[in-house]
């Protein structure tokens, strides 16, 4: 007889009518889960470095549990070895001893208090899990493809058996801590996937050989864990349906489907479908990958197994998930990064508040931070990882003020809605007719960069709900300040594109700005030199190259895209190569002549490049911001400068600045 832990009645929720499949119950094993939303396990590096659960992690999980609105909420994977093999992240939770049970129970309790189903995950990170050890563990010694990871020690037969028992013992601790569902992680290059893959498993004992033999480690764990948790707790496994390791002799897709069948035979109730390894050369989750790209993967898996399947990758929106469930491609909707960006994302769908969702921009800063031993952060969500700190949330202002904000970009708008939320009277001025500031321009770059604009949709909705008054097509001037005398001025006017570095030729007619090039308000020749090798220059270079231009990128940074998240930069480097863009880094323009540009290398060499048009995309301090700041000072008005007006950065700096100043006014 199936049991249900919490009753949820979605009848009166608009989201349940709009997304009937997402908000319908699903049975995993003997457990009925009220809806088909799952928050996927995510490391956050918030726990203590000896594996104990912290208040910060409990608060982080509580928010995500509230967001799944009765669905499945998964805690981060635990490591299970006292020697710390398998620990992939410095702040990863541990479960190698009973002493960790009270901390784990705090997570389970927090999830239950939000009336969600608590999922516990076992995660041995295998050949990528050795943050506190001199080497990693794996089925076979195999040199690392990525220098980031430590050498691999080949596990002895005894060590393999010990590891299986560690999984079983840690599973029992999860049950004792009060979790309702058990999950085993075998994805992206972690230990179970190392045993499964022909790429990393070269063993000649009973744990190596053909695909069936390579499954033994996984099936032994499944059987052992099942024995420890009993028949009533659903058991999920996360495994690759496609390793994307064809270039190094990884499993074929057919072999992966055999793995799926063996997992089901061993006793799992559900499989979370994943694609790719950390060592894959094919991108899976970056922004350039279209939404829904990977839906064919679980659809194919469903032909081979008959247990419920879920998938997370590039499936951010409920309409897509609802249709995928309706079409039988997946059985429930898994998400991770969207709920890092907005913990309440599914709940807002349910409540019909889609305009309130703060959308993930798939930048992967969250992952990049974890790999660099830093606490989780979100590019777009300033409160992420600060859930335990009330000062990070808007409180009513003690004195209501009139706030004038110059600039309707992400910094100004973020500040506007937060300040208005606290009770201030907020006016936003922008000389453009459309909100968005620099993001409007950034959204013109190819590879789905138009997704960036969704933050502006969010801001607009929040401002409208809180009565922010917009003065579009109107510049906030010294005269307005003098006449209106607001209590506070926030200067969020962005940065200026710099017309040159003083070199001869920048005053020529064929030298145009990034915006003139992108909007084609001035003619752009076939051969273009873009000056500026940071984000704006790269986006502009790619946009022009996509139009068939021969583009050369010149800039002062030592490597192209130094201001881009390292986990994403390699993608841009690849795009530049694919589009035939030549880069001169650590260089500057020495002179612009008829039909060519002379580039000066950092050590004084001069290189001629043919060019019909030069586009300037380097940014510097805003002259207007300085003027406005001086005017506000003249009137003794409380003044803040935020976003790119302080120093040219990116969307994250703008949003975080805006939020924090919105809290402070």
């Amino acid at each position: 007889m199936a049991r249900q832990i919490f009753e949820w009645d979605y009848t009166n929720y608009p989201g349940a009518k709009k997304y009937p499949h997402v908000f319908s119950p699903i049975q995993l094993g003997n457990l009925i889960i009220p809806n088909r939303v799952k928050y996927a396990a995510t490391e956050d590096n918030l726990n203590s470095h000896d594996g104990y659960i912290t208040d910060e992690d409990v608060a982080y999980m509580r928010e995500r549990a509230r967001g799944v609105a009765g669905g499945l909420c998964t805690m981060q994977g635990v490591y299970m070895d006292e020697r710390r093999f398998g620990q992939g992240y410095v702040g990863q939770a541990a479960a190698w001893d009973d002493k960790f049970i009270p901390g784990l129970k705090r997570i389970a309790d927090a999830i239950h208090e939000e009336r969600a189903v608590a999922n516990y995950q076992l995660m041995h990170c295998g050949r990528v899990g050795g943050v506190e050890t001199p080497f990693c563990e794996g089925p076979s010694f195999l040199p690392q493809r990525l220098r980031l990871f430590k050498p691999v020690h080949e596990m002895s037969h005894e060590e393999v058996e010990i590891s299986i028992q560690q999984h079983v013992d840690a599973a029992r601790r999860g049950v004792e801590a009060g979790f309702d569902v058990m999950e085993i992680s075998g994805i992206v290059g972690y230990l179970i996937s190392n045993f499964l893959s022909s790429y990393t498993n070269r063993r000649t004992d009973e744990y190596g050989g053909d695909v069936y033999a390579r499954c033994k480690f996984m099936t032994d764990i499944i059987k052992g864990v099942r024995g420890a948790i009993g028949p009533d707790i659903p058991l999920i496994i996360r495994i690759c349906a496609w390793e994307q390791l064809d270039d190094v002799g990884g499993n074929t897709q057919d072999e992966s489907m055999i793995v799926y069948q063996e997992a089901v035979k061993a006793g799992v109730d559900s499989i979370s479908v994943t694609v790719g390894w950390q060592e894959s050369i094919v991108p899976v989750i970056s922004r350039d990958i279209d939404f829904g790209t990977w839906l064919w993967v679980p659809e194919n898996a469903k032909k081979h197994v008959d247990v419920p399947l879920s998938m997370a990758y590039r499936l951010f929106h409920a309409d897509m998930a609802d249709k995928a469930i309706a079409d039988g491609k997946i059985d429930y909707w898994e998400n991770c990064r969207p709920q890092i960006a907005d913990p309440d994302m599914p709940l807002k769908y349910l409540e019909g508040r889609e305009e309130d969702i703060r959308w993930c921009v798939a930048c992967n800063v969250c992952l990049a931070r974890l790999f660099r031993d830093a606490p989780m952060t979100c590019y777009i969500n300033p409160t992420c990882a600060h859930e335990n700190d009330p000062s990070y949330y808007p409180q009513p202002a003690s004195t209501k003020k009139t706030v004038f904000i110059a600039g309707g970009g992400p910094a100004g708008l973020e500040c506007a809605w937060v300040a208005a939320d606290r009770g201030h009277e907020v006016h936003v001025y922008d000389d453009r007719e459309k909100l968005g500031g620099t993001i409007i321009d950034a959204g013109l770059a190819p590879y789905n960069d138009d997704e960036l604009y969704r933050i502006i949709d969010f801001h607009k909705a929040q401002c409208d709900k809180r009565g922010v008054e917009f003065h579009m097509g109107e510049t906030l001037t010294a005269e307005i300040l003098e006449e209106e005398l607001p209590d506070t001025v926030v200067i969020a006017t962005g940065a200026d594109y710099l017309r040159g570095n003083g070199a001869p030729g920048f005053d020529r007619d064929n030298v145009i700005s990034l915006t003139e090039a992108l909007y084609e308000t001035k003619p752009v020749g076939d051969r273009v030199v873009v000056w500026g090798n940071r984000k704006p220059g790269i986006g502009c270079a790619l946009a022009l190259a996509k139009k068939g231009k021969k583009v050369t990128l010149v800039g002062p940074e030592r490597t192209v895209g130094k201001d881009i998240n390292p986990s994403f930069r390699w993608r841009y480097n690849m795009f530049l190569r694919q589009n035939g863009v030549t880069s001169y880094n650590d260089c500057d323009i020495a002179e612009i002549e008829d039909g060519r540009v002379i580039i000066m290398t950092y050590d004084g060499h001069r290189v001629p490049v043919e060019a019909d048009t030069v586009v300037y995309a380097e940014r510097g301090p805003s002259a207007f911001a300085a003027e406005l700041k001086a005017a506000a000072a003249e009137e003794s008005i409380e003044t803040y400068v935020i976003g790119d007006a302080v120093v040219p950065r990116g969307l994250s700096g703008a949003v975080h600045d805006g939020y924090k100043i919105g809290l402070r006014i």
Partner: protein, 173 residues
């Protein structure tokens, strides 16, 4: 402002060669330091070979992300990685086909390493053994990573006075 292309290229070329020279000199300077630190009675040859082995290991690390076993001409592609490495060090190297796609010959028409070895008083036997060991070490890691029985052997060597270095790279079936 006028632009003299020939002058710019000449300057860049000179700098490139200086960097290549400096690279080899640094290797032999560190070799000398290690030998001196090891003291009297130390096995100089063993110390030098260890340095070459470490070099081979590190070269392998840079090759592994570039290996594409799903592409044709696997052996030739590995050979081209060696060619690029040694060209960057100032050698003149090419790949010549072998009996089939599982065999190629890497030919060093010119290599500056023996000259530098002489400048620092290192024996030619050490230079040859060191270079061989570096290549063997690199290939061992590449073979292990790719799970293929890749082999390399020296058939001719400049340090032996044979005019050029020739290495046979093959996949043993």
């Amino acid at each position: 402002m006028s632009f003299d292309a020939e002058k710019e290229i000449a300057k860049l070329w000179a700098k490139c060669q200086a960097v290549q020279d400096e690279n080899r000199r640094t290797f032999y300077q560190c070799r000398e330091a290690a030998i001196q630190m090891a003291g009297d009675g130390a096995d100089e040859n063993a110390i030098a070979l260890k340095a070459w082995e470490i070099k081979g290991k590190d070269v392998a690390k840079s090759y592994l992300p570039r290996i594409r076993m799903d592409k044709p001409k696997f052996v030739e592609n590995i050979a081209k990685l060696f060619v690029n490495s040694w060209r960057n060090q100032g050698a003149v190297v090419t790949v010549e086909p072998g009996a089939d796609e599982n065999e190629v010959f890497i030919v060093w028409e010119r290599c500056p390493w023996p000259t530098t070895a002489k400048q620092y008083g290192a024996p030619m036997a050490e230079d040859l053994a060191g270079c061989d060991l570096a290549l063997q070490t690199t290939i061992a890691d590449v073979a292990l990573f790719s799970n293929r029985n890749l082999k390399i052997e020296t058939t001719k060597a400049i340090p032996r006075g044979e005019g050029k270095c020739v290495r046979r790279l093959w996949l043993e079936q």
